[in-house]
Symmetry: C2
Subunit: 594 residues, 2 copies
């Protein structure tokens, strides 16, 4: 049986000691009142809700799954009630603007909330998961009428929202989508088409469901430039049922408590959101918010998996450990946490979870800065950092969600493979996050092609300047070695970008080939940066709570010694691909004649 303890102390360490969030937020007029106490209070309440209400429903949701019957979907026992508590407590409104009924709290606290929800119950979290993105998209692109009619309902949690993109023939490539929207002449549109993989497309949690749907207008160009975005509610303002129906739900590997729906639109009434044919731009507001949230899912899953593996490793006695000769039972066997191989598994999880949390929250703060900083130049710079790190976090943290859950399962051994233990559900649940909201391969292309090469590396350089500045603070003393490693990594990363940009002129396929490696290299720049800052914060905070801060320093040391070296592999692959490319080989390195 698993447990979940909200990691409040670790979160405080990150927010207060490493990132100095209260001071950063103080530079944003909207968050002038967000002080340390308020942040702690929100984290504490979110943690209580996640641990007390959501976590007990996690295994229930997996076992019961959703039931589909004649267009209706029944969510697992307890799910709808948990949602009522969630919206009653005002969680949907957390980071929404006060003028729309929101609490006006910073995005970084939303990151904390999302992490905890996913730690406790990934499947449940899928239902409210898209509400904030829908809110952001409507707030920015919705007409006054749509904003008036839908924003407050979404902010209050009274209605939930979906994102209807995928069609059977159009997944990663939305340009292939076929759903059509015919103008009715009165400002309304009749939407027709079939959508698949729609999370929360139908359920019994809210009285209405607000669908944001991609479709083509009659005069639309082919491809992604002919796609428009529409809002189509399950129930129309006049109380009539809209022609939108769930035709079935998927039987999935994991997140079985989440209803993944096939949706049929049969001339459903909808309203345009944003400009005609510019639907992808509007949808990307929603998508980018969703991608950061998916990163938090990976993080949350990795946290719970690690917590439980850690606890089990201290309980389970097997074999004498060479590392620590004094057996806890005075005799035959040590806790497996004393065995080096188990320590490697646990420390790798921990280095990614804690490092990933620092980088995710840093990015959450950058998002706040991008939205609310008093200085427009700071807003613009922060926006660049967020756009750079969003794909990195989405891919790295979802990979670690799956890998970390699998590592935790390994610590449990044969018991981990048994359903009742619960950890295998985390492995199954985690797997989907590497696919949805843009597969991790798409994230890699987004990062290298659109975020890095497109501006000649300027945005990356701007961010790496912050990284280098941290390293420069530690020229002497006990952190000199990791600081040097960090500075060298930044240097090598920039050199790799230059070499790729140069080679791409003759070999346009090359950046696509090395994009996955460059994404992880960039991620390690961020993780190493954060671990250096954490080590500094731990040294500075040493006097209070030495054991806690020693553990942070030990994990930082582990990250630099045993996790960061992945970059040696990545750079070697990149260099090999560059060389092959220079030799004229590998224009298409896939065997042709097979």
């Amino acid at each position: 049986m698993l447990s979940y303890t909200p990691p409040l102390k670790d979160m405080r360490f990150v927010l207060e000691q490493v990132l100095d969030a209260p001071r950063m937020l103080a530079a944003m007029p909207a968050y002038a009142e967000v002080d340390t106490d308020l942040m702690r209070q929100v984290c504490g309440e979110a943690g209580r809700f996640a641990a007390d209400v959501l976590f007990p429903l996690n295994a229930v949701g997996d076992r019961a799954g959703c039931r589909y019957e004649q267009g209706e979907v029944r969510t697992p026992p307890g799910f709808a009630d948990a949602y009522r508590q969630y919206s009653a407590a005002g969680w949907p409104a957390l980071a929404c603007a006060p003028e729309h009924g929101g609490q006006g709290l910073p995005q970084v606290l939303n990151c904390v909330l999302q992490e905890m929800i996913s730690s406790a119950n990934h499947g449940w979290g899928m239902y409210p998961g898209l509400a904030h993105g829908a809110y952001a998209c409507l707030a920015q692109y919705g007409s006054a009428e749509l904003r008036e009619r839908y924003l407050e309902k979404i902010v209050s949690g009274e209605w939930l929202a979906t994102m209807c993109l995928t069609e059977p023939q159009a997944g990663s490539d939305l340009g292939l989508l076929r759903s059509r929207a015919e103008p009715a002449g009165d400002g309304r549109y009749a939407i027709s088409g079939a959508k698949i993989f729609i999370s929360g497309g139908e359920h019994d949690m809210t009285a209405n469901i607000v669908h944001l749907v991609l479709a083509r207008l009659p005069d639309a160009a082919a491809g992604s430039k002919g796609i428009s975005l529409f809002l189509a509610p399950k129930w129309l303002p006049d109380g009539a049922r809209n022609a939108i129906h769930c035709t079935g739900i998927e039987h999935k590997m994991g997140i079985r408590g989440s209803a993944t729906c096939s949706m049929q639109f049969d001339g459903a009434t909808g309203w345009l959101v944003g400009e005609p044919h510019r639907g992808l731009a509007a949808m990307f507001v929603m998508m980018n918010a969703a991608r950061l949230q998916v990163a938090a899912q990976g993080l949350g899953i990795a946290e719970t998996a690690w917590q439980n593996a850690e606890a089990y490793a201290h309980e389970r006695l097997q074999g004498k450990a060479a590392a620590c000769p004094a057996g806890q039972d005075g005799g035959r066997a040590d806790p497996i946490a004393r065995h080096a191989a188990v320590q490697r598994l646990l420390m790798t999880q921990r280095a990614y979870v804690e490092g990933g949390r620092m980088l995710a929250y840093w990015t959450g703060l950058a998002l706040d800065c991008a939205e609310q900083h008093a200085d427009p130049a700071m807003r613009e710079q922060a926006h660049g950092h967020v756009s750079l790190l969003t794909p990195v976090l989405k891919a790295m943290l979802t990979e670690q969600g799956f890998a970390g859950a699998s590592q935790a399962l390994q610590v449990f051994g044969g018991h981990g493979y048994i359903a009742e233990t619960g950890i295998e559900q985390y492995v199954r649940d985690a797997r989907v996050a590497m696919i949805y909201e843009g597969s991790n391969e798409i994230q890699a292309v987004d990062l290298l092609l659109r975020k890095v090469l497109a501006d000649g590396g300027a945005r990356l350089d701007d961010w790496l300047a912050l990284v280098r500045a941290t390293a420069a603070l530690e020229r002497d003393g006990e952190l000199a070695a990791p600081a040097q490693a960090l500075a060298a990594l930044a240097e090598r990363t920039q050199a790799a970008v230059r070499a790729i940009a140069q080679a791409a002129a003759a070999q346009p396929a090359l950046p696509y080939r090395v994009a996955p490696d460059m994404l992880r290299v960039t991620g390690h720049c961020g993780l190493a940066w954060m671990w250096l800052r954490a080590a500094r914060a731990a040294i500075d905070g040493q006097a209070q709570d030495p054991a806690f801060h020693d553990a942070k320093r030990a994990t930082a040391g582990y990250y630099f010694a045993c996790v960061l070296p992945e970059v040696e592999q990545l750079f070697a692959v990149i260099n090999n691909c560059l060389q092959q490319s220079a030799g004229g080989a590998g224009a298409c390195f896939y065997p042709q004649g097979d």
Copy 2:
């Protein structure tokens, strides 16, 4: 819907062109008649059985699972009938000695059979999975009476066998086991205790089940030196039911068609196998056979996963590929197999599957050599190679079974996460193989501590001499660069072993800490060796079937460019641990004060 095509052409390439198996077997009197035709015939028949009989039951087994009722276990529909066909065709007897009713065919063909069974139906394969190990163990350690009574029944497949080791408190550490065996005075023993995770402990496939059980005699020492091995059948020779009962089956993440039983022994009648208190030595005969078989499971799963991902990637059209501008549909979208990121996923799988097959079959041939070569010195040398590579193959190929299945799922995208597609079952099934028959962490310790450091690296050096000899053949010409990389890798591996051995004197925990890295380094020595040989065979065979051989060379190139660089990460970690160790830090690198 998945499919499985036995990779007969690839297998022939490995057996005939890369490994020259017929010539190697000709040096073994027992296999004088095993020529190319016979090998092809066995492979073809095994493939037909796997594809036609076992594969169609794979999803059935996952969906139906096993049913437990009052001590009885019903296997999934079709499983028992498939087993009848399997034993009627003589497959259990394949690599058993003719004097016990076996077919006397080489172990390498057993590797082929095991790979195909696992490709087709991992869950089903668990039932006959331990029969060959039980046969080998009884043939070597059983009394004349036991051999007479049980060997032929096992060889004919009339009875199946189990391995009863694990107890709730004794998993990786068998020294903790508590089951007891009281001598009855007439050569029989009364065995009592509870065993868990017993694959095929109860089922409806055979009339009798032969349990090989570890238990302690009354005068046994504590720990692993006080463990004896017993044979205890479900039905006694006089027709009475033995006091062995299945008390339940596990609900597992995967291999749901396999009955994983809790077994209760209540004074069950058994006979000693081998000497008192030397049970682990006898059990290890069975265990080593099982470990190679588990390696073949990982390989088989990775093969089917890759086949299906490959086929899907050629069907599914999404997006224009930068790599290959000519779209197959003349228009909007290319098959995803033309996208670089998908190619990376597919090629990584392929490099591991084909490379892993070469190394596994090479080890199968070495096992034949160890058992049957005319020259005792050759037998001893081959035995050393098998003992060295068994833990490497078990860990590397089961990791790739899971990673490869997950990579295949990624190629399927959202569709891969849906149960009906079938690939997610392969991910769930594959996961267990990293745990059972000695977790992969145990394999790493077995390799570095027992197989490498224990003899001062002599066995490793002896094997690496073969590796170097291959590299030395390619000093010039188009394979000079990979040959150089291989020679350098062998050199660095030996240097790392020397450094670890030296540091271990002062830091006994160090080898345990770097054991997982050294296992993968050793695995890459083997894979790089095999890919160099494959590239040579492909060049030599080029004239016949150029497309096939070009693909082999392309995959070899991919292995050296994009897979082998993992060793850069591994050596960096090893060096960092050595340095920490030299600095006196990290005697216990796990945070103590947390």
